[in-house]
Symmetry: C2
Subunit: 358 residues, 2 copies
Amino acid sequence: MPSEAGGRGPTSRPPSADPTVADFTEAELIARISAPLPPPAPWLLVGIGDDAAVVLPERNRLAVLTVDALVEGVHFDRAFTPPAAIGHRALAVNLSDLAAMGASPRLALVSLVLPPALPIGDFDSMMSGLAALARRYGVQIAGGNLSRSPGPLMIDITAVGGVKPRRALTRAGAQAGDELYVTGTIGAAAAGLQMLRAGAGEWSGGSAPQARQPTWARCVQRYLLPEPRVRIGSLIGRNRAASACIDLSDGLGDAVHQMAAASGIGAVVDEGSLPLDPGAREWFESHGGDAVAAAIQGGDDYELLVAVRPRARRRLAALAGRDTPLTRVGLCTEERDVLLRRPDGRTVPLGHGYSHFT
Amino acid sequence: MPSEAGGRGPTSRPPSADPTVADFTEAELIARISAPLPPPAPWLLVGIGDDAAVVLPERNRLAVLTVDALVEGVHFDRAFTPPAAIGHRALAVNLSDLAAMGASPRLALVSLVLPPALPIGDFDSMMSGLAALARRYGVQIAGGNLSRSPGPLMIDITAVGGVKPRRALTRAGAQAGDELYVTGTIGAAAAGLQMLRAGAGEWSGGSAPQARQPTWARCVQRYLLPEPRVRIGSLIGRNRAASACIDLSDGLGDAVHQMAAASGIGAVVDEGSLPLDPGAREWFESHGGDAVAAAIQGGDDYELLVAVRPRARRRLAALAGRDTPLTRVGLCTEERDVLLRRPDGRTVPLGHGYSHFT
């Protein structure tokens, strides 16, 4: 929707050596987004290019919907985040939200707010990064929106998935006595971000990210190209092992606090049991940081925190694999405090994670 | 999702006389959004506050999904757009997209990207404006996202509606010989925007917008508080009168061009038949402007352009009412040119509407 009347169609400027998105019409940009996408699924009755997408609902499934924005200068820095990583991360954070609900992703709507000076090559790379992740999980790009930005680049994605009735996971079902598990390892993304800022790691967008130490490269990869827990999320939903689930997008500390608040319980997390990424531990310790605090408060780990009744422990364990370890990190308690048990046995308040405003 | 680890919880600043969104936690802001909303519908199984919303699909309906962003400095100017109008418009543009597909709205996800200095009163007003429009059409706010903005305020809304199978309207069904109709009047929003910029109209957010001339107040209202054509859109879908439909968000000129391109046809629009808003005509003519050009190229008229087979004309006419006049404005043609027939009978290329980048 416009703020002013104006001319339209391709600009009359001569083609520039370094063309930007402003050198292209909306129709041309939409065509560049659509061209590399797989053909629409039969259930996508109207896709990109109309006023809205039209979709045949999944039979016997609930629809699960989430939206998450990536804002330049807040969620990423273009100085060290290649465009392909921006596109990848923008979709990954949404797929992670669906996974935390036990849902399988189905489609995404992509709303782009772009500075006119964005090089068209960066635009293409951003959309390639997004499309590659979408393809990996069979996510259809069903539509979106293009707007000009007077400032930061923004990419806001709505993802829609499906889950069988009574199989959706929420934050609210944990009870005192439930055990807390975390998928994968934590702290790597926070370390990777520090490495990128410090110039100790980089990625040019081609092959895998590089870092000064081989064990650090994985941290940079985890920050730039997080892998959402799509498969185990939907498996956990299906086999009814979990009483509650949430992703670690804003850090483990935040996730435990959010789950405890939504469920009306407290929790004790065992510091000694936390699955710290080895490269992250090495990075934080060699840079004078507190690896445990960084792993608890650092965000961008798109792992899942799962609460499990003790009797369902085996059902959950059956889902863990070499790719997706599951580590018991704590226990839900009747008292509403959210605590960290230090190695010496003392308990202290568990730190919160990232806050978006303060 | 964070860009850095950090503290959380309410800030330790002393309460300010003019609090901003930065003085509140995310949980507090979410509570302020939720409090005035109607209770969740039975089909909204998980609403605001979890990782995603969970929704029971409508029986025997297709899902229709759209996303549209409102960006400060591009789509609105906070100098003359009160917060309630920003919230209203952000939802209205999405409901208009659903109406253009023949769909009835059901729910919305609201992604807010907010400058930390935004006064909390403006935040509340913005959400009230949005909630009031949502309530009017029974739209549930099912979820959303909060991010900080390093620059402009942005509000990106995903709206989801439903339409019966084979009743969805697209841009692509028009054929040569179909007649083109427009709902309501055009040009008012473009005039209203000019009035606001010129200081000839204003709205403080309380009662109705004011303008120097009584006939102009309606233009200011049309710009600030556009009324999406929700009811007639879904009626047009249901009674199968239309062969194609699109909304006028980027102007009538753009809409005719888009429909013609999608349908593989051309069109001739009759200048003399255009339903120009009287206040807009008066404004443009008294300010040395070309009222017709402004009405064709000016956007923000959330009216619908409808293509109708001649034999279905009566079915369409049956839907028009005093509130929603329908005016025949042109004809679809086999030749692919998109033309305007001037009062003297000559035809000229029909101007395009607003472009988001050029």
